[in-house]
Symmetry: C2
Subunit: 210 residues, 2 copies
């Protein structure tokens, strides 16, 4: 029903609304008008109303939106009322950093396990997770009902591991490997290409200097 | 001259072209048609030609683009022919991971220093960089001609540190703190909001399950 045919651009803005509304709620704000929200977020009030209309408008009244309600509703649209179980593949610096990052858990993203092909890392602990071998991955995914695989490994290994994970039943890949994964269309892939981000920064810096 | 008024969408695609062309070059491919490139990249050939036309078209002939030339030209547009000097502020897991990541250096992004407010970390080494105190930041930025600050610190501290960096002459911020930084318009800000990315993944997973 709601959410059908919503554009990628709208979807990409939802986490930001969620973030601002969470801050407002933490600050004790109970209601906010689209005008006030627009000033805080540096987007137009009309953009906000248009975005929200994709989901039925969230009952804006003359006196504004109910912050807690709007926060909860956007959270539900983002699937944050559910718990997601993740594993990290690649226990290098980035994999360890993500595993150590506790804020994901507050949003319901629980990193259940961490895997690496390097034998010397096996048995070492990241928080209370023991780094496991790749051979243990299949049973772990099935036994723990893992739904998201996080790839923090070299690009050469990423596609093979992604395909393994899919064969074990994983539905989504959060990909930090520096490669585009061409996977079956029913698999959700979200990429974080850090080098691409740095190159965009460099482009803008370079333009600015000319 | 070139690059004026180029849309954000085009700019966001440039790093991806650069990545694919680098791979082609490494594979020994000398020429490629927009049609072949489009098949590899899963975008239309017309999109590729339109994107490239923003920069004069790169001399596509009947027999395709020269891969090395195109790679070099896009690299120049991205400012990758220059060396950028970075500091990382926040020596937690993510700051350490970025400092340890050697691939950035290959693209000319040299992480010169790493800073943290936690005294217990001062003097510790990440690769051959010693973690320094925040008091040492101003002199370091000026003495080493730093142009990019990388923020891997809690959101509460991010704005204050960004403003400090700008006062020391830094022109660009690569921001990993979970907050939008509203800074003067001549400062380049590139955000990597990991939680936002994870929420988009969650949205798509949730939609998919309905």
């Amino acid at each position: 029903m709601e959410g059908k045919g919503i554009s990628k651009a709208v979807i990409s803005r939802l986490p930001r609304y969620f973030r601002y509304l969470g801050q407002l709620r933490d600050d004790g704000v109970e209601r906010i008008s689209s005008h006030e929200l627009s000033e805080r977020m540096k987007v137009t009030a009309s953009q906000i109303r248009q975005d929200f209309n994709n989901f039925g408008g969230f009952g804006q009244q003359g006196y504004g939106y109910n912050v807690q309600y709007l926060y909860d509703e956007i959270g539900k649209i983002l699937g944050l009322h559910k718990t997601h179980r993740l594993i990290v593949i690649g226990a290098g610096n980035l994999g360890q950093a993500l595993t150590n990052y506790v804020d994901f858990e507050k949003r319901g993203f629980i990193i259940q396990g961490i895997f690496d092909c390097n034998e010397r890392l096996h048995g070492r602990k990241i928080r209370d997770r023991t780094i496991l071998s790749m051979d243990e991955m299949e049973d772990f995914v099935k036994d723990n009902d893992i739904d998201i695989g996080v790839l923090t490994l070299p690009k050469e290994a990423a596609l093979k591991v992604a395909e393994q994970l899919i064969s074990y039943g994983i539905k989504a890949i959060w990909n930090f490997a520096h490669i585009d994964l061409h996977l079956p269309s029913d698999i959700i892939v979200e990429n974080v290409h850090l080098s691409d981000s740095l190159m965009q920064l460099s482009y803008n810096l370079n333009r600015h200097e000319l």
